[in-house]
Amino acid sequence: MKLDLRLPIGLMFTIFGVMLTLYGLASDPAIYARSLGININLWWGLVLLVFGLVMLGFALRAQRGPKSNDTHSTSTP
């Protein structure tokens, strides 16, 4: 494969996760009236962060580890 797709996916969701988590911590609690009083930015930000980091982890492991049985590892065509 040309470019491990898990890399950009992981990177993008990690950035979204950090952005939303920080915004959730800093924002005025009044804006969460519409989300039923739940600080959804904080919680969903953490979910995205975990998802992003897991994707990144897979991508990095495939890049570093041996390519033996991993069909998704990066290689030049």
Partner: protein, 569 residues
Amino acid sequence: MQQIHLSAIDYAILGVYFAFVLGIGWALRRFVKSSEDFFLSGRSIPAWIAGLAFISANLGAQEVIGMGASGAKYGMMTSHFYWLGAIPAMVFVGIFMMPFYYGSRARSVPEYLKLRFDEKTRGFNAITFAVMTVFSSGISMYALAKLLELILGWSFHTSVILSAAIVLAYIFLGGLTSAIYNEVLQFFLIVMGFLPLVLLGLKDVGGWDGLTAKLSTVATNAGYAPGAWSSSWRHLDSASANPMGVEWFGLVMGLGFVLSFGYWCTDFLVVQRAMAADSMTAARRTPLLAAIPKMLFPALVILPGMIAIAMHGTGGGLLPVESDGTPNYNLAVPVMLGHYLPSGLLGLGLTALMASFMSGMAGNVTAFNAVWTYDIYQSHIRPGQSDQHYLRMGQVATVFGILLSVVAAYAATRFNNILDMLQLVFAFVNAPLFATFLLGMFWRRTTGHGAFYGLLIGTAAAAVHHGLVLPHGATPGLKGAFFGTVLHTYPSEMAQNFWTAIFAWSACFVATIAISLATRRNKSDDELKGLVYALTPRLTDHEIVWYKRPATLAVLVLGLTLVLNVIFW
């Protein structure tokens, strides 16, 4: 309606997404060396990526907005577009048709028709398909720009130019690979952007039980049985018992068989993703892997619509109301986004919405440039050029394909009827197509003349049927009965469409057989090797671990779909 206000964080999320979309195109540009790289990703895509792109390319505007709208309008019966109208066909294309598509090394669906039948059948399919993709992409752009104008107050021109420029840039740079990678990115974004909306909405209405209770009020107020909005099969004995206005036979045959198989098994837009897979097994697993998230999509796209109508119908007054008193179903999903999501997550939800529009557009554009270059330009205009010539042609086709889409988007703002008419014509052309492929792949006696004239007769049958019937409450014209007489009145437009498809398919099927028997075969058994079931060596999957075999996946997918149908019966 009240406009949604975006803050800096929402724009920042949108900006990050655009940067990644363009970045992927930029990173992939150096891998595009031949036309096969540009149009078929060099046949190097692993099954899971091809599978996610397979459903994401189909996850365009009509799906997120349209299925949400249908969820509000018809309730749980909308799930038939997934569990009946998609999964069985996806399993069929993976198990039975992919061996011929991938095995024949055809580079497009029209090219398969050329190999199996003749040039005229290919030409007919290629030209109608190319025109259709350009208009679909234009309609996608139009719908996005209209929606953003309405809910955000953005100017129509800005939205059209921005979305066109971004899609153009990443396809021009990286070809199909870029489109596929971005479709997978968009898939995750759509899931992650809509899931919090569904969770908040469900919590608000009191879970599934609370939702069914509220929906029974909606159903009884509309004059149906209390469960009409929350069950998928129970109210299908007669067309008057459900809001969709269809009965089970028309639904199963029209949607579940003709329309569904016609789309998933013959539409190059989706088949192209599987053709780009890195092996035969991967190509066969592509639609099967795609079926797993596909069967869960109703929760993501239909449920918000159902929640919206439940809130609206029980005193919430959530949806904007048209002048005749019916709610504006098309705004169900955007209104829900604005209702539940605070700044921050709102940006993510809107980004997901835009991503869905762009993946639909990009899917159409990549299918267009391949069909244009291989099936029209290379075979009719300039044959025998170097591969580099066709690669450049593909890039040029991407540019003018998108320019034509922009023209179509602007045409839609002025001549709404012309686009409605075109969509109607495409529906006529598409309805019989599956009969041609079914006979072509499984009956070696099918001839080129049989296929071509069968298709024409099927298309004509669709037009004639549509011209003689009318949905309840419609005036003769585009909606039907354009021949002046009304032979039959269907309870709904949906029922009319299903029956048009059934008639078209049957006419094509019978005509193709009759004409094939009356004409001489134009391909010998030898030429049909790898193109027809009886003349192709059986694939053996014994070297693959049993749980990775396409057949195992197929059984699993069909079993799960059956369970879902029973649960929501």
